[in-house]
Amino acid sequence: MRAAVIVFPGLNRERDMIAALKRFSGEAPLVVWHKDPELPRADLYVIPGGFSYGDYLRAGAIAARSPIMGKLRERAAAGAYILGVCNGFQILTEAGLLPGVLMRNASLKFVCREVRLEAVNTDTPFTAGYAPGQVFRCPVAHADGNYFADAETLAAVEGNGQVAFRYAEGTNPNGSLNDIAGVFNEGKNVLGLMPHPEDLIEPAQGGTDGAPLFETLLASAA
């Protein structure tokens, strides 16, 4: 399989993501600079976390309108897997690749803490490593993670099995509607989530709860 990490200026968790992909696939992913003339062929494209363009204007808004996103949209339509974490999730919603928006946290503060996630739809390569309803640990670190969608969109997201993860056990850190922590597109080949599974993949980090996501994804994208 081939994984590629797309980097915009201001992203800052690309090193964490590259390390995670390398750990579970055995090889370093391609690293694509947003201005590279070509988007190389890959089975999985990842947009990591950070503050692309400083979160100026709106988190993810500027990166979502950069030329490389047009090419990514084509690959998504062709069935390539796309994963956006944190700012990557914000960019994917801003780009219209995922439904809904991410607003400022209800607390109006940045929040970095461990939460519990519940795996909701586990019938996808992203989530097959978790049992349905399984609750696991995961850190969050964001200021704009408050998931919102209008009633119609929300009903569709819930009805089509597009909810990947929910904050569990009362740990919703940001006010997200329906405790939504991660959503798929309709085709289930694009996933965005606010928490950082890439920062909880080895015992030294205090646990390996984030590992199943990468294990099954990288195995199935092979």
Binding site: P9, N12, R13, F51, D55, K109, F110, A141, A143
Partner: protein
């Protein structure tokens, strides 16, 4: 608007630049003529307390700054300590007190930005940050606003830049009501064969300006930070800089990429006193002159005068001396990151600092006297009187009630509200997060090594006895590192005091520095970088003397690391350290201060050789895998320490021997 560089220099103008009449006389003697307006600005920038350390230099020289691991001590952008395997840790702590009081969000944010820049200027990628914060009484009308602004500013900058915040301090005391302290620490990792310094070498080489454009923000900031506050301080808001972490992150990546090309001869970030200070330091250190052409400086506002350009403290800017044949390669790196790149000057062999603007020479000064040969004072000081022993009327209280009151009070309560606003995990190498004795970060690329970071000082001890307080600050930092299993390898000091022109304040500084020096020597814990912040007074009232110590330790194998929280139920709890015949100590305790509003007695004395023996022994227990949980005893003593260990783990503790004894 016309700019008159040759306006008459009146005594009022001199005073408004923070220069004393005798200092102005020194300028006249030095250059043999009245300075131009731009030159006066340059002198005020270079000779103020913040940049020149003129009141503290004499005493700073007494600190131990060398050791077998020390690669670079004070005098550079940051200190450098060898950690083996061709790698070194680069670190420093710096204050941003005055700006944070005036404009808490931006003041704190740019404090973080400045210290991060100091670290990556040396070629290191930042891996950890801490901050030591001191605010006024929780009831004071400004405290809530200042705490939330400062914490948001630190998070806003550090989180976006992408460095984990792994530790720090947050303390309240009424002495900080009008003058809060924001001390920011950063550390980075560097290969020992690619450390970069600020000393320029070679004549006729391009001096290159990199990063963000120059604006009018922060003009005169360093001079402001060298003065006392009064009630009109809000008017100084324009002297506070505005931070842009997005630009700083790009500057980091661009600098590290540029350094890898081999193009960089010397590099200096533009911090306090901006272009003036960075250019003068690079030239003076290298025994070279510098000629600048201000028409080439990238500016973001029209019609900036040379005076403003030389004194602007706009953030996220760097000055470098580059190999001319690599200039095109260097330019390409900065264009990729969409940052400004401009050749603004040249190194010369005449030891002059010359500044040209619109074809006119607006400044021409001797560079050495501006920089490393700036004036120095031996200010009069009086030793602080030893506090009287505690009287015999120590109030008694039920131990459990006292414990609850202490851990529920503003001093002892959890700091989770603060550190959850900081990204503590980014990088994926955080092994111990804030809340324990020290934060621990794994050394990326090494299978077992990790670095521990802590920041400590107990200002009320320093006020009662600056010498013992200075010793205690160092000892506590050393102890906190030890409690994780780390070997303390180096420290940075951030000395925050009041007005040094008052002999009693100067006496506090002298006493504390002596205490720090003695403890650092006894514990083989060299001071490799630091910063001095004086004039922390408002309306003539000084802060508690606060010499913050940032400590760094090396853990050879993080699988043998101790945490503050209990590891498992049923384990034995041992108390190490002071032998029983020393008794207990309540002088200057948090028990007396917070529960009875009494600030009496001497602080607990530190027996350094005992400290060292105890610490070395505990470290061995940790590394042998015998000790599973370790926590140092400090504020609140044994009771609070046990409670913290229990709270951190969710495991209780039963301590029998405490029945019927004094608090």
């Amino acid at each position: 608007m016309s700019f008159d560089n040759n306006r008459p220099i009146t005594p009022e103008l001199v005073a408004s630049h923070g220069l004393k009449p005798d200092e102005y006389q020194k300028i006249l003697d030095l250059i043999g003529r009245p300075p131009t307006f731009t030159e006066l600005g340059i002198f005020s920038a270079m000779w103020n307390e913040h940049c020149s350390y003129k009141s503290s230099k004499k005493w700073l020289r007494t600190l131990p700054t060398t050791g077998p691991r020390v690669i670079q001590g004070p005098g550079e952008n940051a200190g450098v300590v060898d950690i083996g395997d061709g790698q070194a840790v680069v670190f420093k702590m710096e204050s941003h007190n005055h700006p944070s009081f005036i404009e808490p969000y931006q003041g704190a944010a740019t404090g973080v930005g400045g210290i991060l820049r100091d670290v990556f200027t040396m070629g290191a990628r930042p891996i950890a940050a801490m901050n030591a914060l001191r605010f006024g009484s929780p009831e004071h009308e400004k405290t809530r606003h200042l705490v939330s602004g400062v914490v948001a500013g630190i998070g806003g900058y550090g989180n976006a830049f992408g460095v984990p915040t792994v530790g720090g301090e947050l303390e309240f005391d009424r002495s900080y009501n009008g003058n809060i302290l924001v001390n920011a620490f950063a550390a980075g990792l560097v290969e020992t064969d690619s450390i970069f310094y600020s000393k320029a070498e070679g004549v006729g080489l391009p001096v290159v300006y990199l990063g963000a454009k120059t604006g009018r923000d922060g003009v005169g900031g360093a001079t402001m930070a060298s003065a006392e506050f009064d009630d009109e301080i809000e008017e100084k808001r324009p002297t506070v800089q505005v931070g842009d972490p997005f630009t700083e992150k790009r500057l980091l990546e661009a600098c590290l990429e540029l350094m890898a090309t081999g193009a960089v001869i010397a590099i200096q970030d533009m911090g306090a006193a901006g272009l003036t200070c960075s250019a003068v330091e690079m030239g003076a250190k290298g025994d070279l002159g510098i000629a600048l052409d201000l028409d080439r400086v990238p500016v973001r506002e029209a019609a900036m005068t040379p005076y403003e350009m030389m004194l602007s403290e706009s953030q996220e800017r760097m000055l470098m001396v580059l190999h001319p044949e690599k200039e095109a390669e260097a330019r390409a790196v900065f264009e990729k990151w969409e940052l400004d790149f401009a050749t603004v000057g040249v190194t010369t062999d005449d030891l002059r600092f010359r500044v040209k603007w619109h074809g006119e020479e607006v400044a021409n000064l001797p560079i050495k006297e501006l920089g490393d040969e700036a004036p120095e004072y031996d200010r009069p000081w009086v030793a602080t009187a030893r506090p009287a022993p505690l009287p015999n009327d120590i109030p008694r209280m039920d131990v459990a009630d006292a414990l609850l009151a202490l851990i529920g009070g503003p001093h002892g309560s959890s700091r989770r509200w603060v550190f959850e606003q900081y990204d503590t995990l980014i990088g994926g190498n955080t092994l111990l997060r804030p809340g324990g004795d020290a934060g621990v970060i794994r050394v990326e690329g090494h299978p077992t090594k990790a670095l521990a970071f802590t920041s400590d000082v107990t200002p009320r001890y320093c006020e009662a006895d600056p010498f013992e307080g200075g010793k205690q600050a160092v000892a506590e930092a050393w102890r906190n590192l030890t409690a994780t299993g780390a070997t303390p390898i180096g420290a940075t000091d951030n000395l925050n005091f009041g007005n040094p022109e008052k002999p009693e304040i100067m006496g506090q500084l002298v006493g504390a520095v002596r205490g720090i020096a003695e403890a650092c020597r006894a514990l083989d814990f060299p001071i490799v970088s630091g910063n001095v912040s004086l004039y922390n007074e408002t309306n003539g009232r000084g802060i508690l003397p606060t010499p913050t110590i940032g400590g760094v330790g090396l853990i050879p194998d993080w699988s043998r690391m101790a945490r503050a929280g209990f590891a498992a139920p049923g384990e034995l709890i041992l108390l190490f350290g002071a032998p029983p015949e020393w008794g207990t100590h309540l002088g200057q305790s948090i028990y007396l201060r917070d529960l009875f509003d009494r600030r009496e007695g001497p602080p607990p004395p530190v027996d350094l050789s005992h400290e060292r023996r105890t610490g070395d022994y505990v470290r061995r227990l940790i590394r042998d895998g015998i000790a599973t949980a370790v926590h140092d005893l400090s504020d609140g003593g044994l009771a609070v320490a046990l409670a913290e260990m229990a709270i951190a783990s969710g495991i209780g503790a039963k301590v029998n021997q405490l029945n019927d004894v004094d608090p």
